[in-house]
Each structure stands twice: as C-alpha cells, then as structure tokens.
Symmetry: none
Subunit: 219 residues, 2 copies
Amino acid sequence: MNRVLLIEDDLQMQGLIKEYLERFHMDCFACSTPGEALEALKKERFDIAVLDLMLPQMDGFDLYKEMKKIADIPIIISSARGDIGNKITGFELGAEDFLAKPYDPRELVLRIEAALKRGQRSTLYKIGDLTIDEANRRIFIEDYEIELTKAEFDVLLALIKNRGKTLSREQIVALASLDPQTRRRTVDMHISNIRQKIGDDPKKPKYIKSLWGIGYRFE
Amino acid sequence: MNRVLLIEDDLQMQGLIKEYLERFHMDCFACSTPGEALEALKKERFDIAVLDLMLPQMDGFDLYKEMKKIADIPIIISSARGDIGNKITGFELGAEDFLAKPYDPRELVLRIEAALKRGQRSTLYKIGDLTIDEANRRIFIEDYEIELTKAEFDVLLALIKNRGKTLSREQIVALASLDPQTRRRTVDMHISNIRQKIGDDPKKPKYIKSLWGIGYRFE
DNA sequence: TGTTTTATTGACAATTCCTTGAAAATTTAG
DNA sequence: CTAAATTTTCAAGGAATTGTCAATAAAACA
C-alpha cells in the first residue's frame, strides 16, 4: 500500500483529499505545518508527498528543499494558480508533477499513480567518480556528463555489470550485444575510446584493467 | 443558464460577441469600462468573465486583480496579439484561458464552454522559454503561441512528460499514442518539424537532443 | 463535394560511428 | 637483452543513422 504525505493548510481541503486518497487505497498522513511534515518524514517512510506551496510559517520552496534532504521521494506541488508567477516554477525546482488549485481530487489520484509508476527509477551504478544510469543510458563523472556512443556505452555497461570478473573480448561482444561478427581489435578500439572519455590511463587504470592475453576487467 | 461578464471597449465588437453568446444560450452582460465591470461583479453572479486587456481608464492587469478579489470566477483574457509581449502572460496571471485578437466568436463560445465544463484547470509545463498547456493543447514560446499539429503536439508532450529520459522512436510512438504502425523515419520528421517550430537547432539543441542509434531525449 | 491541412515516404546530403590496417608502445618468453 | 606476441592508438574508409526537402497519400474540414 502506498504511503502519501499530504501537506495542506486548508483543513477542509485536507480532509477531502485524505478521504479521497484512502478511498483509492492509499495510506495518507496529512499535516498542515512544515514542522509536522519534516517530523513525519524523519520518522516514517513515504512513497510520495503532495505539497501545497502556500503555507504560513515557512516558504514553500524552502520546505521543499528541506524535505528533499531528508528523503528523496517524488513531490507533487500544488499551488493557487498565479501565485507562482514570475518566480521559479515547480518544475524548475525539480518537482515530480505540478497541480494548479483548485484541482479535482480524482486528478490528484491519477497523478500520484502516474508518478509512482514512473518513479520506478532506472538503476544507477555508482563506482568511484562514475555514475551510470542504465535505462537512460547516461554516464556521469563527478556530476559532469560524459557522452558515449551506443557501442561504447554497451561495452562499459557490460564491464560494470560484471565488474571484478575478467572478460574475454568474445564475452564482451556477447554481453554488450554487439554485432556477433565484431572483431577483437574493434573491442580494443571501443575500450580505448571509453578510457579516453572517462579519463582512464591504460598504464595504471583506475577502472578498466587489461589482462595480457586474456581480456579486460572492470574494478 | 450560464452568465457571462463581457468587458470590451470596442462597442461594435461588444455587440457582435454579445449577440453570439446569446445565440448559444448564454446570458451576457456587456460593459466597456472597468468601473462598470467591477460594479456588475459586485452586484450580480457570473459564471465566467471575458476581459479585453486593452482598456482605457485602468490597466487591464489591475482590473483583473480587482475582479479576482471580488469574485474568483474563471476569466478568459483577450488581447491584441503581441501586446502581451515580454510582460507577464495571461496564464501567469492565472487566467483560465487566453485568446489573441481578432478571434472568431465561435471559438470564444467553445472556450467558454470548455472552461465551464472543465471547472478545474489544466496543467502547465514550463521549461525554459516553453510553456505547454496540456488540456488546451497549446504551446507558447516566450508568451507567443506556436501552432503544432496533433502528432507534433503529442510527440512533444510525450517527450516533456519523460524529460531527462532517453526514448527510442518506438517508445515515442507508444507514449504519444500515435498509430502503432508509425515508422521510425516518420518520428524523425515530426521531431524535425517540432524543432523548426520551437526554434531548436539539431546541432546544438536546447530542448530535443538526438542520441545516435538510440532515439531522442528532452532536457 | 472540393479544398486545405497533416502524415508519410523516398531521396539525398550531412553527419556520426564502426571497422580496419598499420605503426608505435608494451609485455612476456627465451 | 632480444624477439615475438599482444595491446594501444592513429587515421582513413566505409557503413549506418539522422536531417530535411519535396512529392504523395491520407485525413480533416468546410
């Protein structure tokens, strides 16, 4: 059962939404102040949060940031239309979704469901400075993105998924789903290009080690 | 019967619109000055208002705010195209809908009906200069509307809803609910057209990036 | 119906990537 | 230490992909 943290200062609205969410089999914890929200977030596990930006004690944007620090769950922002104005938008803030008030509770349910479904985030492999986002096919090195070609990405991913294991060139071709006719030298070339792009020196490699006469190994 | 408050200083236009609305079974109260408008709003109930921004005695934006204070009904703003310019858009102000003049009275009728039926307001995606109004299927770039075809809109929306994610052409077809038989090259063509219309250069794209051998990604 | 708009497709150029041979560098074996 | 084997890298050629024009088919519209 999905747990929803609802932050809404209008108590009437709060009750209505909570009722709705529960009718759709969601466990909803509702609160009306930033303090309560942060408290709850520290103590309990939530799958998603719905945050009304117009709160009294604390600026909604600050609360958003505080929440993200405590638990990195998707946050749907709601706000009276027009209040956002020239300021930063919910999306720019990184919100999962954005709803203008007044909204239909049914729509909120749909958006929560969509966000949770979407939120099946792709696997991240983090090794040293490297971060590999599998489904999105993106590579970062210390927060800077590195652009790899299709084959390079597939080779690197195969190595990382089998890190610690020594792979022959033939195995790499198979694991990376390259054209089965790919020659051994071509694999070398891909490795060379990858090393160059991620800044790995073949002589004293941090990531991809060459095993003389055998193949390569990621470590 | 729906009551419409029309604020329009061009008396000829005013008469035309009023006549149209009444033909479509709407009760229309027309006025040509801010004073009359506020007066009417205080005294009578309206379901929706249509406000022409170019009024003499008072700045249209101020009038908009005054009206919202008196009665929080949806307000459709009309304005000579281009007059909005760099300023705040009708949307940012919180307008229910926005019409560039000159407009077809029939379109106004449709939009009023849509606004009333909707009751709740549609989501806006704002990314950089782009604003996408999902329910109204309209796209704005720096407050100017861009016209996309159905397929183009659906493709762009799919990309935006999955921004940051790398999508194959097949995924785009599915996410945009295009004809499942749509060929890969057709997707390219849609992307090309979208890019041209939103002014995105494929060589150094601000919005839609091509991933060689993989697909596209919105960022 | 005829007219206009939109989607699709082929063609071609431009671009990017993969492959390959060979030279240079490195490692291993004798 | 020298020679052979292997890896690394360069650079060029060729293959595949993408961008876009223009023509056509399909669809929407009046």
